[in-house]
Symmetry: C2
Subunit: 407 residues, 2 copies
DNA sequence: CCGCAACGTTCAACACCTGAACGTTAGTCG
DNA sequence: CGACTAACGTTCAGGTGTTGAACGTTGCGG
């Protein structure tokens, strides 16, 4: 072992240039693949956009990266030899088709909820290949949840061609502080757990933790309604209320990963008690649970979809319950819009099922409390539904894999 | 003209490596110079820090940048020939002393207030050399303010050795939307003006606009109480209330430069009217003007310092007025701390003069409304006083000057 | 059917970084 | 006080990487 492969690369050396250029090529391939996928979803904005070249010829890679064709040729040869890339059709005028090799590996994403675990396997550009959702007893212990995730993941990996798993990203419905679950009382089965260590023990590949709302924000931004914009704020309203922020096309995690925690903004100092211990938090006004509780007298044991149906069929009480949630949501969004000024606000999670009902009132609340300049920020329901967090976890996992280091 | 000097540099070429390495060297020189300056201010934390090498020998540059000594030698030779660098003492074991050449140029910063203009000239690392503050009639027209700034700047440039002015950064007490002053009613003399165009016409060098609270945030972060931390939030409370956020040691401007606008967060939907047109904004509770108005009955025509003195001397009313402002401030800070989780909150502007009086109540308000995990975020008064914005404008201007491109 | 255009590859030329060797100077130890 | 050593800056040869030009190949249009 003459040269240790762990030798840290000198920051300004020519070889670091090569790595950077390799990374550039790989990034373009990943981005184009995901864009392609999203367009194939049938997005409405597919026509007016200037449509980047969706072919993967070496020539287009050269144009996209700004590198010379000769350089791209060298890089593609190296990466193909390393098993990372794969060239499909032959040469000639039409050029070849380069793509990430399917045998280069997979990434996985896990979405832990309060009563379920969803697991997905995707390719290295973060596109979903197979997924499965399993129900669990409410508020599962973290060990049980991780075990379920692991066995589900193994089953999914059996459904795809053999290739190494490179990264797993775990989405948790709780603020992530460093490597454990922050703020007590929020996600019972995981309280105080060193989640990163537990996850590393459960999976034998690199692992990252991420807040589920952050994941949803990323997915809606890359694949959903916020596609093409450069900033967005995503509110996930389900069991609780969380938020995720995209700035300059990237997830904004803040100083310690808890940026975007909109759920416990104080709206009324004398408002109802919240599970976080404070009073008058947004979550105490606008979570699914809250709406259900408001309707407990009229529609006991009704699920949220039933309440939405009732509102649409004319129930004044149901409509009012949802509107109240929306107004308070809009109020909190005004703070977000004042502080961040995103290009769009996306509402996701189960609350998205209420559609225009909640959008209308959220917009009213927003306009009333936001500065003029940002009061008309668009508010829309996410287009990915409850899959958003899971899709986002694949995107994050794919970002973590650094194929340029595979020499 | 064979090769146009405007030719954009190929992104992956060896010459781009050289530029990047040059930039790396220059960045270290700038950063060390500023750090040195701040330490010389007599900061209390000068002892325990691991103290980076404050000497500017080529050897220390090599260590700091990770480049080989030979490379640093080449770069220093080139940049010296270009007139950007200057080597002081001779060689030998103690090494030479490299620094930015004083004749390489200056940057300037301007701080526009509601009744004054402050102008400063600094070196290319953003250190203040000379400054001057001139009083203006209240709410000056933007043309008048710019003219005053320009003549003051010319006078200041006469006080320093001849060298080109490279950049001017203008601080405005208003949100900056793109290139003009956002949100009406905030900064009367500049309303709706294309401030960037006006400023370009007034100064014949590149110009940037920045919110004054953002500038203050940067200054306190690099030179003041937030030194050494990697994130911070700065609230500037004077005529109005503004905020600036530092994340990962950098100014966070948000999607369109208006991030951190804390002044118009709604605290009470039924609160007093605010100049922004909404109700119950923080600014309606916690600005200097508000405190003065609260005291108008007892101390008519009293300035803020007099009110602070009265409070310190036992006036219950004065103390209560300041405490009320602090409590509401703390409430708003809770939103900030939940959403951004900065390592520290710094209070600047004229409100800083109230010291512990406002700090105490701000902390109480913060603890009451923030999530447990962040409720104990430190709150401190800025150490730069009202110079913060002006010092920050020099730092921003220095960042804009790209000396690596001077070939 | 032919010519042109675009594509991918190869090769020589060029630019840059780096380790080693060298002269120089300032501390340090005897 | 003097010699030795350590650290510094510079020079030079060697290695790595990118690039423009040239070339063979293939599809498209006339």
């Amino acid at each position: 072992m003459r040269h240790s492969s762990l030798m840290v690369q000198a920051p300004g050396s020519p070889s670091s240039l090569r790595t950077a250029n390799r990374r550039r090529v790989l990034d373009v391939l990943r981005r184009l693949a995901v864009d392609d996928d999203a367009v194939a979803d049938g997005s409405a904005s597919a026509e007016d956009a200037p449509v980047p070249p969706t072919a993967f010829s070496q020539a287009s890679l050269a144009r996209e990266t700004g590198l010379a064709p000769a350089t791209v040729s060298n890089i593609v040869r190296d990466l193909t030899a390393a098993g990372v890339l794969e060239t499909l059709a032959g040469g000639g005028r039409r050029g070849s088709v380069v793509r990430l090799s399917p045998t280069a590996g997979y990434v996985a994403g896990v979405d832990f909820g309060h009563e379920h675990v969803a697991v997905a396997v995707g390719d290295l550009s973060g596109r979903l290949l197979v997924s499965e959702r399993v129900a669990l007893a409410p508020e599962p212990d973290h060990g049980r949840a991780l075990a379920a995730a692991r066995s589900t993941l193994e089953a999914l990996l059996g459904q795809v061609p053999q290739a190494p798993l490179r990264h797993v990203t775990l989405g948790l419905a709780a603020p992530i502080q460093g490597q454990s679950v922050g703020s007590a009382n929020i996600f019972p089965g995981w309280e105080g757990v060193d989640a990163l260590a537990a996850a590393r023990a459960a999976f034998s590949v690199p692992v990252t933790l991420e807040n589920d709302a952050n994941l949803g924000a990323l997915a809606e931004h890359r694949l959903g309604v916020a596609r093409g914009l450069h900033s967005s704020f995503f509110v996930k309203i389900s069991h609780g209320v969380g938020g995720g922020l995209i700035v300059a096309d990237q997830l904004f995690r803040g100083a310690s990963g808890s940026a975007g925690e909109i759920g416990h903004l104080t709206l009324d100092e004398q408002g109802p008690l919240c599970r976080c211990g404070s009073r008058g938090c947004l979550e105490a006004y606008a979570s699914i649970q809250t709406v259900q509780q408001m309707m407990a007298g009229q529609l006991p044991d009704a699920g949220f979809p039933q309440i939405v149906s009732a509102a649409e069929e004319g129930s004044v009480a149901a409509r009012r319950a949802i509107e109240d949630a929306g107004l308070h949501l809009g109020w909190a969004l005004a703070s977000i819009v004042n502080l961040f000024n995103p290009a769009i606000v996306v509402i996701g999670g189960r609350m998205g099922q209420a559609g225009e009902l909640v959008l209308e009132s959220a917009r009213i609340g927003l306009r009333r409390h936001a500065l003029d300049a940002v009061a008309l920020t668009p508010v829309a329901v996410g287009s990915l539904g409850e899959r958003a967090s899971l899709l986002g976890s694949l995107l994050v996992a794919a970002e973590q894999v650094d194929l340029a280091e595979v020499v």
